[in-house]
Each structure stands twice: as structure tokens, then as C-alpha cells.
């Protein structure tokens, strides 16, 4: 037997292993990355849902970026102001808070309102149905209704109802915007949480075409644009476009819309009460768009509570401040 070759093998391979092992050991000592203690602490505070609402692949990456000071600590929508404040404490920085948003469905055409064009039996989610003639609802703009948004929501805030429309739980919704990005029809949008009234229709078709396919679609009748006291609405491409800065959430457009295409998020609205201070000047009767105030000139006027929607227009014009808005709980919800 050739002993030499055995010894040579053992020595060379063993030596190779020894050298490489040493190199690795030295490299480990030299190249070890010390974790940043601030980064660790921030990562502990972040919720760990990895939802990506901050715009980074996950909580780990966001923690790293915040610790380096590359991005602001208020990007975590799930954690909200509390998390932002705690991160600010770690970094020793002042934190400005981002306005909280909520995802809303801007289509009301479920299978009862918007008839199906053909029987879709393909299974899968909205994206798949979308590839086939844009889904089987008669309206080509509206919600496909197969629940892709519900399946992508990392917080379980979306469920599908019997009418094949997603229902968003506003308490669970963090406004991360994943559903908004994923929806193939763009029928979801992020709404500032304080905003109450919005148009829930995305159809750019002409009035007659919309009417043929959907009972709650916006027919571009222009009524809301005319009745809005704040000029917050403007008809663009067969849809009223709302200027959120001008809109006061008075709810007049919502109440006037003949097709019920608007949605009002307020849980309750106030109503007007006219006190004994009223001298019957009639200013309130002129501004009320709902004929909810009656009475003769010179005598105390009366509010027909069933007709009053609580827009507060009369409250503003009354020269004697004789009108109060009762049950303003709805407005409390708004600011919360």
C-alpha cells in the first residue's frame, strides 16, 4: 500500500480545512455586524405585521431605516400615533403625526343592484375574473365582487357580504392601502378618517348607460353639483369630483342624490331645533333645501324633524341665533 498518498491526502485536505476554518473564524470576528441597539428597540415596538404600509418590505427593514434616520418615524399606520410617539422617544425626536386614513369601497353595485352579464364559473379571485371581459357584472367599472381585497387584507378587516360586495371594518382597517393597490378595478380608495361623505361610483359612462346596468350608479345628473352650498363638487368625465378641502360633510349631496350613489359614514346626524327667540324672519326657510322648515312670516318657525338632514345651513344664516343643532353626536364621531 502506498502510505505516502494517504498521508498526503490527509495532510492536504486537513490543512485546507484548517486554513479555510481559520479564515472564516477571523472573518467572523472582523466582519461581524453589530446590531444597532436603537434598531432593536424600534423593532420591538413595531407591530410585526409586515403589512408594508410604510412602503418598506417589512418591519425589520423599516426599523433599520428609521434607526439610521433615513425616514420619519410616523410611517407605521398600523401602530398609529402611539407607536410613532414611542419611536420618537427612542430617537429623541419630535414626531409629527400622519393623518389617519381608512379604505372605502367606491362602488355600491352588488349583485342585486348591478345585474350579471354572464355566469362566471371560473373560481379564483377578482384578478382572474377581470382578465375575462373585466368580470361578469354588467358595469365594466364596478367591483368584480370575488373578494380579492378580503384575501389580501393582513388585518382581516374586509369580509364579503351576501350581495357580493366587500364590507370594510373601519375599526380594524389601518389604512395601509394594500387592498387599494391590489383591486384590479380600482374600486377601493383611501379616505381621510375624518371625512364622512363620499361618492361611491366609479362609472364614467353616460347617465343612460349607467342606468341600464346599475340601479345605484351615478348618472351624472349634476344635481349634487347644483345643490352643494360650498362649490365642492365639479362634474368631471361624468362623475362629480369632490374637493375635500371645500367639502364640509354637510350631507346635502348624500340626501339629494336620486340614485343613492353617495355614502355617509356618520353614524348619526343632528337635527335643527328653533327656539323661542325666533322672530319669523324666514331666512332659514330660504336656505333649507329640504323644505324642512315651515311657519308664517313674523311667527316662530318650526322644523319638520323627519325632513331635516342636519346639514346646519339654517343654523348658519339665523340672524338671532335662534337655531340649535340637537343630537350632534354625529359630529362627535367625525372628529374622533
Amino acid at each position: 500500500m502506498d502510505w505516502l498518498i494517504i498521508i498526503k491526502s490527509i495532510l492536504s485536505l486537513g490543512g485546507l480545512g484548517l486554513i479555510l476554518g481559520l479564515i472564516l473564524a477571523i472573518a467572523y470576528a472582523k466582519l461581524a455586524v453589530k446590531p444597532n441597539p436603537q434598531e432593536e428597540a424600534i423593532r420591538q415596538i413595531l407591530p410585526g405585521a409586515n403589512c408594508g404600509a410604510c412602503g418598506f418590505p417589512g418591519c425589520d427593514v423599516y426599523a433599520e431605516k428609521v434607526a439610521k434616520g433615513e425616514v420619519a418615524p410616523n410611517f407605521c399606520l398600523f401602530g398609529g400615533p402611539e407607536v410613532a410617539r414611542q419611536i420618537g422617544k427612542i430617537l429623541g425626536k419630535e414626531v409629527t403625526l400622519k393623518e389617519s386614513q381608512v379604505a372605502v369601497l367606491i362602488c355600491r353595485g352588488g349583485k342585486n343592484e348591478c345585474k350579471e352579464r354572464f355566469i362566471y364559473d371560473g373560481g379564483g379571485d377578482c384578478r382572474q375574473a377581470y382578465v375575462l371581459f373585466g368580470g361578469n357584472k354588467s358595469c365594466v367599472f364596478g367591483c368584480v365582487g370575488l373578494g380579492h381585497c378580503a384575501s389580501v387584507c393582513p388585518f382581516g378587516a374586509i369580509r364579503m357580504n351576501e350581495n357580493r360586495l366587500p364590507v370594510i371594518d373601519e375599526k380594524k382597517c389601518t389604512g395601509c392601502g394594500i387592498c387599494v393597490r391590489e383591486c384590479p378595478k380600482h374600486t377601493l380608495m383611501l379616505l381621510p378618517r375624518r371625512k364622512l361623505v363620499y361618492l361611491a361610483c366609479v362609472s364614467h359612462d353616460k347617465g343612460k348607460d349607467v342606468k341600464n346596468v346599475c340601479s345605484v350608479g351615478c348618472t351624472a345628473c349634476n344635481l349634487c353639483v347644483k345643490v352643494c352650498p360650498y362649490n365642492a363638487l365639479q362634474m368631471v368625465d361624468n362623475l362629480p369630483l369632490m374637493d375635500f378641502n371645500k367639502c364640509t360633510d354637510c350631507g346635502i349631496c348624500y340626501a339629494k342624490c336620486p340614485t343613492k350613489s353617495y355614502v355617509d359614514r356618520a353614524k348619526a346626524r343632528p337635527y335643527a331645533i328653533i327656539t323661542t327667540a325666533c322672530n319669523g324672519c324666514g331666512e332659514c326657510v330660504k336656505v333649507c333645501q329640504f323644505k324642512a322648515i315651515e311657519g308664517e312670516i313674523g311667527k316662530r318657525h318650526r322644523v319638520i324633524t323627519e325632513k331635516c338632514i342636519g346639514c346646519g345651513e339654517c343654523f348658519k344664516v339665523c340672524p338671532l341665533r335662534a337655531i340649535t343643532m340637537a343630537g350632534a353626536l354625529g359630529h362627535q364621531v367625525k372628529t374622533a
Binding site: 498526503k8 491526502s9 492536504s12 485546507l16 479555510l20 472573518a27 466582519l31 461581524a32 455586524v33 382572474q128
Partner: protein, 196 residues
């Protein structure tokens, strides 16, 4: 075997494609070809490690094993060298090139013992390539790997939605599809006189 650099590249890239013609490196081919994103990450990591491994093992073979007449030890020695190399590179990237490190992610350590990497280092020796030729060969093989795994991942994303008999869903249909793509790649044989 061709000696012209362009032909070496073409042979490694298409005619003797490592995945479809040699059928080496099947684990990543079927394991991570399920989506386009993972396929990209894997291809980048394989290309990177393949080039480095080709260089290092060439030196180990020609400077250590050949002079000592220990050619039979190449399998053990190469695995040792490649594993160390990948570990070292991972540490280096983590320290110095964080972006590259997070882009390759988990795939870098995964391919430490990938058969495709080992195959390239062996073939470099079997074909008696010099350092330049070995580099071109590794580059061609790595790009061929990337081409096929990216093409195939697009195919598999479509297969997910296709109406396939239940017993064939998943890996069975993927293997059948791979064999058909492989047959298609056989059409490259004879290109510029390159044989299998």
C-alpha cells in the same frame, strides 16, 4: 469541446443548458421557480456564486491538487472550498454591501451545496479549460440557468390557473412541462456546429 470563447459561452448558455439539457440543479429549478421574484433572486445568487466558485476551485485544483497528484480528492476539496467561500462572501456582503445582501437574501446560503455549482467546477476541469475559458463557461452556465428558471417561472405562474387533472397538479405537471421545454431546447443542438 469548443475552444473559441464565444462558442464556449453559447454552448454553456443554450446548447448544453445546465437545467434543461444536462438536467443538473433540479432542486432550485423546481423549488424556487414558482414565482418570478424568487426566480430572479435565485438566478442572481447562482450566477454570482458560480463565477466565484469557478475561479477559486480552478486555483485549488491547479495549484494544490494537481501538483500533489491528489486529483481523486477533488469532490471533497471543492465542496469544502465552495462552502467556505459562500460563507465568507455572505459575511462580507452583510458588512459592506447591505443592499446586495438583502437582494440575494436566503438564496445565497441555500446554493452553497447546489449541484449546478459543483458541476460547473468539475466540467471546467474535465474540459481542461484555462482560467479565462473557465470564467466564460461559468458565466454562460449561470446565465443559461437564469434564462431557463425565469422562463419556467412565468410558465408555472400560468400553470397555477390552468385546468389540470387533480392528480397531476403541482410538481407532476411541472416535471412534464419541464421535459417539454427541454425537448424544445434540443432544437439548439447543431447551432454553429455545437453538439451535445
Amino acid at each position: 469541446m469548443p475552444k473559441n470563447p464565444a462558442l464556449i459561452f453559447l454552448a454553456a448558455f443554450l446548447v448544453n443548458n445546465i437545467l434543461l439539457i444536462r438536467y443538473i440543479g433540479l432542486c432550485p429549478f423546481f423549488g424556487v421557480s414558482t414565482s418570478l421574484n424568487t426566480a430572479f433572486g435565485m438566478s442572481a445568487a447562482v450566477l454570482f456564486v458560480m463565477l466565484l466558485a469557478a475561479w477559486v476551485t480552478w486555483f485549488v485544483f491547479h495549484l494544490v491538487l494537481l501538483p500533489l497528484n491528489l486529483v481523486f480528492l477533488r469532490t471533497a476539496a471543492f465542496i469544502l472550498v465552495i462552502a467556505t467561500l459562500v460563507q465568507f462572501v455572505e459575511m462580507f456582503l452583510k458588512k459592506s454591501y447591505r443592499a446586495l445582501y438583502s437582494a440575494m437574501g436566503i438564496y445565497l446560503p441555500l446554493i452553497t451545496t447546489n449541484c449546478a455549482i459543483l458541476a460547473v467546477t468539475f466540467l471546467n476541469i474535465d474540459y481542461r479549460y484555462n482560467l479565462l475559458q473557465a470564467t466564460i463557461f461559468a458565466l454562460g452556465t449561470g446565465l443559461g440557468f437564469a434564462l431557463v428558471i425565469i422562463l419556467f417561472s412565468a410558465l408555472r405562474e400560468r400553470l397555477d390557473y390552468a385546468p389540470i387533472t387533480r392528480s397531476l397538479r403541482g410538481y407532476p405537471i411541472a416535471f412534464i412541462a419541464a421535459s417539454l421545454v427541454s425537448l424544445a431546447f434540443l432544437g439548439f443542438v447543431g447551432l454553429f456546429g455545437l453538439s451535445l
